[in-house]
Amino acid sequence: MGGINDYLNAIKKQYPDTKEVNDQIEELRDTLHLKTEEYQAMGKTYSEAVAEAIASMGDLTPLLDQVSGNTRSVYVSRLKRDNALYSMLMMAAQYLLGWLFFLLFCQDPGIYFLPYFVVFLFILGMALAVWPIAAHIQCKRQPDKVETPTMPYRKNMRIALIAWGCISAFLILVNAVTWHYNYALWAVWPTVGIANWPLNVWLHHRLLTSGKYDAE
């Protein structure tokens, strides 16, 4: 029992906890039990039979990706257009939040604005605004383009969160070490800005699995 349950639990952990995924896991559990019984009837020990049954299933990743909505055929141009638009709105909100944090935690009551940094952020924002425009043009050209994108949500989210945590910790450390040069808590901007990475993984998954972009 342990072998089958351990194997399926390890797979289940990689996917969202949805009814579709749980139903598929239960169905695979039943199949594995039946296969194990068959191998046992051929004279194998229980552990040998379980190992053989698991090996005979092949790679279950594409199936679970399909069931969990990690892969599905979608109108990709429309998805990318909306993804870019919502992502830009999120970035704008983060930019404002970054300012709010800066104002709240700024050491100097006269507010030290770091003008060169603000100009850099403005240019970056303008450059990024090109993204939804380009996505919109692309969508106009190929509105019915269908693709089957793969997006292992949990794995991508884990990477994004770890990366965000590590980079933020590093920037906050540098900010702390160089504090006496400008007395400004500048690390809040990139910290809030890089949060766009996990937020984008979440946004893309929400849009992909919404059913709104599904191609028949």
Binding site: G58, L63, Q66
Partner: protein
């Protein structure tokens, strides 16, 4: 003699719908039937089998329900829908037609 997997794969929806015409079945049972009816010459691996089942389900051609087993893992059964029956009949007709054309084309 060589059996083209691609040829069978192109008809796997119709094959599974045909199995369900004779009564409700669970996934593994249908996989075993493919192996058995092909005389052991074609095996549909679980990822492909369940992927096809999911697709048929999403298209409304089959419906799933859980059995009332009291022991072991729960078992999921499938039944064919009215739409599934219509699609199966249409696919069979198309196959017969295509087969007759190909037979004529291949006649030496």
């Amino acid at each position: 003699m060589e059996l083209s997997s691609d040829l069978i794969r192109g008809h796997i929806d119709t094959i599974l719908l045909g199995f369900l015409k004779s009564g409700d079945k669970y996934g593994y049972e249908m996989g075993k039937l493919v192996l058995q009816k092909s005389g052991g010459r074609y095996e549909l691996k679980e990822p492909s089998l369940y992927s096809t089942i999911r697709r048929l389900e999403s298209q409304g051609l089959i419906e799933a329900y859980w059995g009332d087993e009291t022991q072991g893992a729960r078992r999921r059964y499938y039944r064919i829908t009215e739409k599934g029956l219509a699609v199966h009949a249409r696919n069979l007709k198309n196959w017969e037609y295509a087969k007759s054309v190909i037979d004529q084309l291949l006649e030496v």
